[in-house]
């Protein structure tokens, strides 16, 4: 068994073609894949990163954007610690769909999930969504915001590292009041950071 201390599940969602797979490949493999087809169902990648001397294992779920895969992809929302909602800054319709995606997130994800809005493809000349529009949307919906380019590797590392750091901070603060018997469930092996123990809810 590898010696990571935290395990976090990160799920990417958003319309087909906005560059989710490219973002994941860029981060996990350091490359921009040429002409791979659309994702089918869900894809699964792992990368272990270091945050302040601690090993953090990121389990990244790359989902297919099309409607017909929705019943597969939705089943992954609930156990996600972070959700990355991606749109394409050069494609208005992908931005217009964001409310639909948010509705879906509300319905299926844990209320405590860390939500990040990402505008991808900033290397493109034909921008349609100005940065401030994305920013405002994120603010209105209580999300982090970042613009990236999977192609030029802009902000990709930062996106995932920021998520890892934030989740770790969250896990630590939630960890504090829970000492003895529950301590091991926090280290992530059982992936229960999102759902605080039933006892605290009951009492």
């Amino acid at each position: 068994m590898d010696d990571y201390k935290f395990l976090f599940k990160v799920v990417l969602v958003g319309n087909a073609g906005v560059g989710k797979t490219c973002l994941v490949r860029r981060f996990t493999q350091g490359l921009f894949p040429p002409g791979q087809g659309a994702t089918i169902g869900v894809d699964f990648m792992i990368k272990t990163v270091e945050v302040g001397n601690e090993k953090v294992k990121l389990q990244i779920w790359d989902t297919a954007g099309q409607e017909r895969f929705r019943s597969i992809t939705q089943s992954y929302y609930r156990s996600a610690h972070a959700l990355i909602l991606v749109y394409d800054i050069s494609c208005q319709p992908t931005f217009d769909c964001l409310p639909d995606w948010l509705r879906e997130i509300e319905e299926y994800a844990s209320s405590k999930v860390l939500r990040v809005l990402v505008g991808n493809k900033i290397d493109r000349e034909d921008r349609e969504i100005p940065t401030h529009v994305g920013e405002e949307f994120a603010e209105r919906h209580n999300m982090y915001f970042l613009e990236t380019s999977a192609k030029e590797s802009d902000n990709v590392e930062r996106l995932f590292m920021q998520i890892a750091e934030d989740l770790m901070k969250q896990a630590r603060t939630r960890d504090l009041p829970r000492y003895d018997s529950n301590a091991q469930s926090i280290n992530g092996r059982t992936s229960t950071i999102g759902d605080s123990s039933c006892c605290s809810k009951l009492q």
Partner: protein, 754 residues
Amino acid sequence: MSSSNPSTNYAELQRKYLQELKHLEEEEERLVDNLNNLFNQKTFLEDKVKGVSKLIPTLKVIKHEAQDLVNTINDISDSSEKISGKIRSLDVAKNRVDECQLRVNDLIDLDICSQGVQAAILDSDYEKGAAHVHRFLSMDQSVLTKTATDMDNVSNIMKSVRTLQDASSQLRAIVEHKFNEAVNNEDLTSIERFFKIFPLLGMHEEGIKEFCTYLRTKIASVAEKNLKTAMGIPQSDKRYGVIYADTLVLLFEGLARVIDTHQPLIETYYGPGRLLSAIKVLQKECDVQMKRVYADWAKVRQINKKIQVVNEILRMGSSSSFGKIEKIDPKDLDILIGEITLMHYRTELYIKFVQRKVMADADVGIPNQEDKEKIIKSLENVIKDSDISQCKHELLSHYLRLEQYYMDESIAKAVAMDTLEPSQQTSSMVDDTFFIVRKCIRRSISTGSLDGICAIINNACRALESDYCEVLKGRLRQGYPSGYLDLTQAYNVLQTSIQHGRLQSGDTEQSRTAFITALNNSDSSIEYVDALCDHVMKEIEQALPKMNSRDRGKLESCLSGLSSVTANLKDIIDYGMQQLRNAAVKPRVHPWVDAFLNVSHHFTEEELSAYEAGEPFVQTLIMNLETLLSSFKDILTPSNFDAFTQVLTSEVTQRLEKIVMKSTFNRLGGLVLDKEVRSLAGYITATTSWSVRDKFARLTQIATVLNLEQLNEIYDYWGNHDGALTWRLTPTELKSVMQLRTDFKSDEIKRLKL
């Protein structure tokens, strides 16, 4: 020195000379011997010298001959050099002759072919004509024109070439026409005949396309017939529920048969590596037919309406069941779900079959790695863009929706119809729920799709964690009524009412039973989850033996969701135990332990022996604990009973510690306490399977301190030596315990160095 003793000197000298003389004589003797020896050898040596001098002329001859040999070898090497040069030019010449011969042959054949091809066409001997064209096409056309320009009768050759070119386009048109005619006439022999002629005319792709287009019509008509039969099947037929799966199976088996029978034909006449071209054409028909079956299925099974209802109900959550939408009984979906999984699985199998076939063909026919990868990529795209893939995804999507509904609704039903059989520790919802979950996961495995399996596992985790655990939690949240009854009495009532199935006889008993059952259900569920994990992993490994490490990681990650269900259940049990502690343990245990205060712990020797005979405090306590424990022993699962005993032990030891701190002791009082603590620990150890030492640690140490003969003895137990204890009491606590001994002096205690 010499003058000191001359006489001895002379004697010495004389002895020396004599010795010298003897030496010389011996030397002489040896020399004479040597001389004699040499003399004897003289004749032998003379003979040798004579022999050697005879050899000298021969050596001269040899030297000459060697010289000659060197010259000869040089000559040979020179001439062989010349010869190999000649051979080289001979080779070149021979190649030219060969080439020339080839050209001559080509020319001769060109002549023959150009003369023969027309005749053959006129005779309708298309094989012969095509053979001529094939021969013509095998000639290097550029060489042919070069030959023509090298020769005088250019026009003759060019004429033949043109004749053949004309003839080949003519033949191509004829063959294509004839093939179509044969297809129209359903003339199988002609179809096969012209199919074989295409490659001779260099029309490989066209031939495959034409032929497979013909095969498409065959497939189409069979498929149409099958679909019509399917639609006509009466509802009473036992295959009615899976008739569309049956129809798909017929379609795929038909296609597989077509591929299997025609692949050797294509390989023989067209060469290997061309199967993908054939598949591309056949896939179009497969797509058409699949879509037709799918559309018909969707219509007849009213799939869209069902999905809509199901989505609606899923969105509202199964709790708000009295909506305006009419619910579908999950049982009514069983057959439909079964049919979908079958349809999906068969589609998946067919796709795998096609992939395997094309790969095998490419392995044989395409040696170049790069070309092979192109084929693989092209195959991937053919499949990815095909309608059967689309339909497959739709089927899986429908399956997942219906299965989710089935699982949620069935679990809700199992919970609603929960019953407790007399003498059972757990109620029916546990068995029923895990039966359902297991069934759903098994069904997902039968789709053959890992994504489908993972989604159902995720859904199962959600249903168990939120719906099912929520119910258990809810029941525990009702609390365990401590009630006015004595617990023994309560237990007896509970037992008899369970035995007689009269659970409604009293609110309190009912609530108690509900509470205990929920606690047992949670414990039993943990075992079920563990078993589920094991079985599911094994079954998936059997169904999908070729999972790669990424697939495996995906699956394991989803299965780990089940362990968080376990964690959840453990939390629920902990919560329930705390409830029991507050409601059933504390109110009983406190008065029992507090009775300690009613007894004086200042004993005289006489009182001591009287007390020791009965140990009234601790024996009463043990008896009470025994009664309490036995009232729970049979109604709790073994592991819950263990947990309960732990809770009870903590309560007793903590309370007793508190009470002891409120009492005072003399030396003998301490002795009695020490004994009583030992008896208590002994009793509880005998009751459970886990070690109680830890829970008794503080109490035992307090008793040890109170049992000291003199203050200084504490150093036997305190410090850094072998006899020292690992103390659970801080020095301050220890000193306040000492203060309880009235015979220990306060300032002496203070002076102790701890």
